[in-house]
Protein backbone atom coordinates (compact mmCIF):
# COMPACT_ATOMS: atom_id res chain seq x y z
CA UNK A 1 0.00 0.00 0.00
CA UNK A 2 1.31 3.44 -0.93
CA UNK A 3 0.74 5.79 1.98
CA UNK A 4 2.23 8.76 0.11
CA UNK A 5 1.08 9.47 -3.40
CA UNK A 6 1.06 12.04 -6.18
CA UNK A 7 -2.09 11.45 -8.21
CA UNK A 8 -3.11 12.56 -11.68
CA UNK A 9 -6.66 11.35 -10.98
CA UNK A 10 -9.26 12.84 -8.59
CA UNK A 11 -8.55 11.82 -5.00
CA UNK A 12 -11.04 9.46 -3.34
CA UNK A 13 -11.08 10.66 0.26
CA UNK A 14 -12.29 7.33 1.65
CA UNK A 15 -9.33 5.50 0.09
CA UNK A 16 -6.88 7.75 1.91
CA UNK A 17 -8.74 7.33 5.20
CA UNK A 18 -8.85 3.55 4.82
CA UNK A 19 -5.04 3.43 4.87
CA UNK A 20 -4.85 4.75 8.44
CA UNK A 21 -7.66 2.76 10.09
CA UNK A 22 -6.19 0.84 13.02
CA UNK A 23 -7.66 -1.01 16.02
CA UNK A 24 -5.56 1.09 18.38
CA UNK A 25 -6.88 4.39 17.00
CA UNK A 26 -9.75 6.28 18.53
CA UNK A 27 -9.40 9.28 16.29
CA UNK A 28 -8.82 9.96 12.61
CA UNK A 29 -8.48 13.50 11.31
CA UNK A 30 -8.44 14.44 7.68
CA UNK A 31 -7.43 17.65 6.02
CA UNK A 32 -8.92 18.22 2.58
CA UNK A 33 -7.43 21.11 0.67
CA UNK A 34 -9.87 22.39 -1.94
CA UNK A 35 -9.59 24.98 -4.68
CA UNK A 36 -11.07 28.22 -3.38
CA UNK A 37 -12.71 30.63 -5.80
CA UNK A 38 -11.55 33.87 -4.20
CA UNK A 39 -8.06 34.74 -2.92
CA UNK A 40 -7.56 38.32 -1.74
CA UNK A 41 -10.73 39.21 -3.65
CA UNK A 42 -9.39 37.89 -6.96
CA UNK A 43 -11.43 35.25 -8.78
CA UNK A 44 -9.64 32.02 -9.66
CA UNK A 45 -10.89 30.17 -12.75
CA UNK A 46 -8.83 27.03 -12.22
CA UNK A 47 -5.43 25.86 -10.99
CA UNK A 48 -2.72 23.66 -12.38
CA UNK A 49 -0.54 21.74 -9.94
CA UNK A 50 2.83 20.39 -10.98
CA UNK A 51 5.20 18.20 -8.94
CA UNK A 52 8.74 16.92 -9.03
CA UNK A 53 7.01 13.65 -8.50
CA UNK A 54 9.74 11.26 -7.32
CA UNK A 55 11.14 13.81 -4.87
CA UNK A 56 7.66 14.88 -3.73
CA UNK A 57 6.83 11.31 -2.74
CA UNK A 58 10.11 11.09 -0.80
CA UNK A 59 9.36 14.34 1.04
CA UNK A 60 5.81 13.19 1.90
CA UNK A 61 7.36 10.01 3.31
CA UNK A 62 9.77 12.15 5.34
CA UNK A 63 6.86 14.13 6.79
CA UNK A 64 5.09 10.90 7.72
CA UNK A 65 8.25 9.70 9.42
CA UNK A 66 8.61 12.94 11.35
CA UNK A 67 5.02 12.59 12.57
CA UNK A 68 5.52 9.02 13.73
CA UNK A 69 8.56 10.08 15.71
CA UNK A 70 6.69 12.91 17.40
CA UNK A 71 3.28 11.37 17.95
CA UNK A 72 3.42 7.84 19.23
CA UNK A 73 1.09 5.38 17.53
CA UNK A 74 0.26 7.70 14.64
CA UNK A 75 -0.51 6.41 11.17
CA UNK A 76 -0.32 8.81 8.22
CA UNK A 77 -1.43 8.82 4.59
CA UNK A 78 -1.13 11.73 2.16
CA UNK A 79 -2.22 12.06 -1.46
CA UNK A 80 -1.59 15.21 -3.49
CA UNK A 81 -3.23 15.82 -6.83
CA UNK A 82 -1.45 17.21 -9.90
CA UNK A 83 -2.86 18.57 -13.15
CA UNK A 84 -5.79 20.90 -13.74
CA UNK A 85 -8.20 21.50 -10.84
CA UNK A 86 -11.45 23.43 -10.89
CA UNK A 87 -13.10 25.31 -8.01
CA UNK A 88 -13.96 22.96 -5.07
CA UNK A 89 -11.76 20.18 -6.52
CA UNK A 90 -9.53 18.44 -4.01
CA UNK A 91 -5.81 19.26 -4.15
CA UNK A 92 -4.64 17.27 -1.14
CA UNK A 93 -5.95 14.81 1.43
CA UNK A 94 -4.06 14.16 4.67
CA UNK A 95 -5.34 11.41 6.98
CA UNK A 96 -3.85 10.83 10.44
CA UNK A 97 -4.99 8.28 13.00
CA UNK A 98 -3.86 8.26 16.63
CA UNK A 99 -5.02 6.64 19.85
CA UNK A 100 -6.17 10.00 21.26
CA UNK A 101 -7.82 12.90 19.50
CA UNK A 102 -5.57 15.83 20.47
CA UNK A 103 -2.65 14.15 18.70
CA UNK A 104 -4.71 13.53 15.57
CA UNK A 105 -5.41 17.25 15.17
CA UNK A 106 -1.87 18.37 15.95
CA UNK A 107 -0.14 15.81 13.76
CA UNK A 108 -2.44 16.57 10.86
CA UNK A 109 -1.81 20.29 11.15
CA UNK A 110 1.91 19.61 11.23
CA UNK A 111 1.64 17.66 7.97
CA UNK A 112 0.02 20.45 5.95
CA UNK A 113 2.46 23.05 7.28
CA UNK A 114 5.40 20.84 6.31
CA UNK A 115 3.95 20.18 2.85
CA UNK A 116 3.94 23.92 2.28
CA UNK A 117 7.61 24.06 3.31
CA UNK A 118 9.44 21.15 1.74
CA UNK A 119 7.40 19.21 -0.82
CA UNK A 120 8.27 20.15 -4.42
CA UNK A 121 4.78 20.92 -5.71
CA UNK A 122 3.78 24.17 -7.39
CA UNK A 123 0.50 25.69 -8.35
CA UNK A 124 -0.29 27.99 -11.23
CA UNK A 125 -3.35 30.16 -10.77
CA UNK A 126 -5.45 31.02 -13.77
CA UNK A 127 -7.59 34.14 -13.59
CA UNK A 128 -9.70 35.90 -16.19
CA UNK A 129 -6.87 38.36 -16.86
CA UNK A 130 -3.83 36.14 -16.64
CA UNK A 131 -1.98 33.30 -14.98
CA UNK A 132 0.92 32.95 -12.59
CA UNK A 133 3.03 30.38 -10.80
CA UNK A 134 2.40 30.97 -7.12
CA UNK A 135 5.50 31.41 -5.04
CA UNK A 136 7.59 32.89 -7.82
CA UNK A 137 6.90 36.60 -7.53
CA UNK A 138 5.81 37.16 -3.98
CA UNK A 139 8.95 35.37 -2.83
CA UNK A 140 7.73 35.44 0.72
CA UNK A 141 9.88 32.39 1.29
CA UNK A 142 13.48 33.17 0.55
CA UNK A 143 16.40 30.87 1.29
CA UNK A 144 19.55 33.03 1.39
CA UNK A 145 21.75 29.95 1.64
CA UNK A 146 20.04 28.26 -1.29
CA UNK A 147 18.23 25.64 0.76
CA UNK A 148 15.94 25.54 3.78
CA UNK A 149 17.69 25.81 7.15
CA UNK A 150 18.17 22.60 9.09
CA UNK A 151 15.43 23.68 11.46
CA UNK A 152 13.07 24.01 8.49
CA UNK A 153 13.94 20.63 7.13
CA UNK A 154 14.26 18.59 10.28
CA UNK A 155 12.38 20.41 13.01
Amino acid sequence: MNFYEISKEPIIIQEVIDKVVQREAGAITTFIGTVRELTHGKKTLYLVYEAYESMAVKKLEQIGQEIKERWSGADVAITHRVGRLDITDIAVVIAVSTPHRADAYEANRYAIERIKEIVPIWKKEHWEDGEEWIGNQLETVAYPKGKPEEKDLNE
Binding site: K58, W122, A142, K145
Partner: protein
Amino acid sequence: MNNILFFAHLRDAVGRDSVQLDASGKTVAELKQLISDKYEAVNLEHVMTAINEEFASNEEVIHDGDAVAFIPPVSGG
Protein backbone atom coordinates in the same frame (compact mmCIF):
# COMPACT_ATOMS: atom_id res chain seq x y z
CA MET B 1 27.10 14.34 -17.55
CA ASN B 2 24.34 15.74 -15.44
CA ASN B 3 20.63 16.08 -15.92
CA ILE B 4 19.47 19.53 -14.77
CA LEU B 5 15.74 19.83 -14.03
CA PHE B 6 13.56 22.93 -14.12
CA PHE B 7 10.04 23.33 -12.71
CA ALA B 8 7.20 25.82 -12.72
CA HIS B 9 8.25 29.34 -13.78
CA LEU B 10 11.87 28.22 -14.19
CA ARG B 11 10.81 25.74 -16.84
CA ASP B 12 8.82 28.46 -18.58
CA ALA B 13 11.88 30.76 -18.50
CA VAL B 14 14.30 28.12 -19.79
CA GLY B 15 11.79 26.84 -22.30
CA ARG B 16 12.33 23.16 -21.43
CA ASP B 17 12.06 20.92 -18.38
CA SER B 18 15.63 19.65 -18.43
CA VAL B 19 19.04 20.18 -19.97
CA GLN B 20 22.08 17.91 -20.12
CA LEU B 21 25.42 19.40 -19.20
CA ASP B 22 28.59 18.44 -17.41
CA ALA B 23 28.54 19.99 -13.93
CA SER B 24 30.78 17.50 -12.17
CA GLY B 25 33.25 19.15 -9.82
CA LYS B 26 31.20 22.35 -9.72
CA THR B 27 29.43 23.58 -6.62
CA VAL B 28 25.71 24.28 -6.69
CA ALA B 29 26.52 28.01 -6.57
CA GLU B 30 28.80 27.68 -9.58
CA LEU B 31 26.16 25.77 -11.53
CA LYS B 32 23.58 28.45 -10.63
CA GLN B 33 25.91 31.11 -12.02
CA LEU B 34 26.47 29.11 -15.17
CA ILE B 35 22.72 28.67 -15.71
CA SER B 36 22.03 32.34 -15.02
CA ASP B 37 24.68 33.34 -17.57
CA LYS B 38 23.23 31.00 -20.16
CA TYR B 39 19.54 31.85 -19.62
CA GLU B 40 19.08 35.53 -18.94
CA ALA B 41 15.41 35.14 -17.95
CA VAL B 42 16.31 32.73 -15.14
CA ASN B 43 16.70 34.13 -11.64
CA LEU B 44 17.96 31.47 -9.23
CA GLU B 45 18.39 33.75 -6.25
CA HIS B 46 15.45 32.42 -4.23
CA VAL B 47 15.53 28.93 -5.63
CA MET B 48 16.42 25.80 -3.68
CA THR B 49 18.46 23.03 -5.19
CA ALA B 50 18.07 19.28 -4.92
CA ILE B 51 20.79 16.80 -5.77
CA ASN B 52 19.39 13.32 -6.36
CA GLU B 53 16.08 14.38 -4.79
CA GLU B 54 17.54 15.71 -1.54
CA PHE B 55 17.93 19.41 -0.72
CA ALA B 56 21.52 20.61 -1.14
CA SER B 57 23.32 23.77 -0.05
CA ASN B 58 25.05 26.22 -2.40
CA GLU B 59 28.41 24.82 -1.27
CA GLU B 60 27.70 21.21 -2.17
CA VAL B 61 29.80 19.74 -4.99
CA ILE B 62 28.06 18.02 -7.90
CA HIS B 63 29.35 14.64 -9.07
CA ASP B 64 29.11 13.02 -12.46
CA GLY B 65 25.66 11.51 -12.95
CA ASP B 66 23.96 13.53 -10.20
CA ALA B 67 20.48 14.74 -11.04
CA VAL B 68 20.27 18.41 -10.12
CA ALA B 69 16.85 20.06 -9.74
CA PHE B 70 16.12 23.71 -9.14
CA ILE B 71 13.18 24.03 -6.75
CA PRO B 72 11.34 27.36 -6.67
CA PRO B 73 9.49 28.16 -3.41
CA VAL B 74 6.84 25.45 -3.24
CA SER B 75 3.11 26.13 -3.28
CA GLY B 76 1.40 22.77 -2.82
CA GLY B 77 -1.23 21.91 -0.26
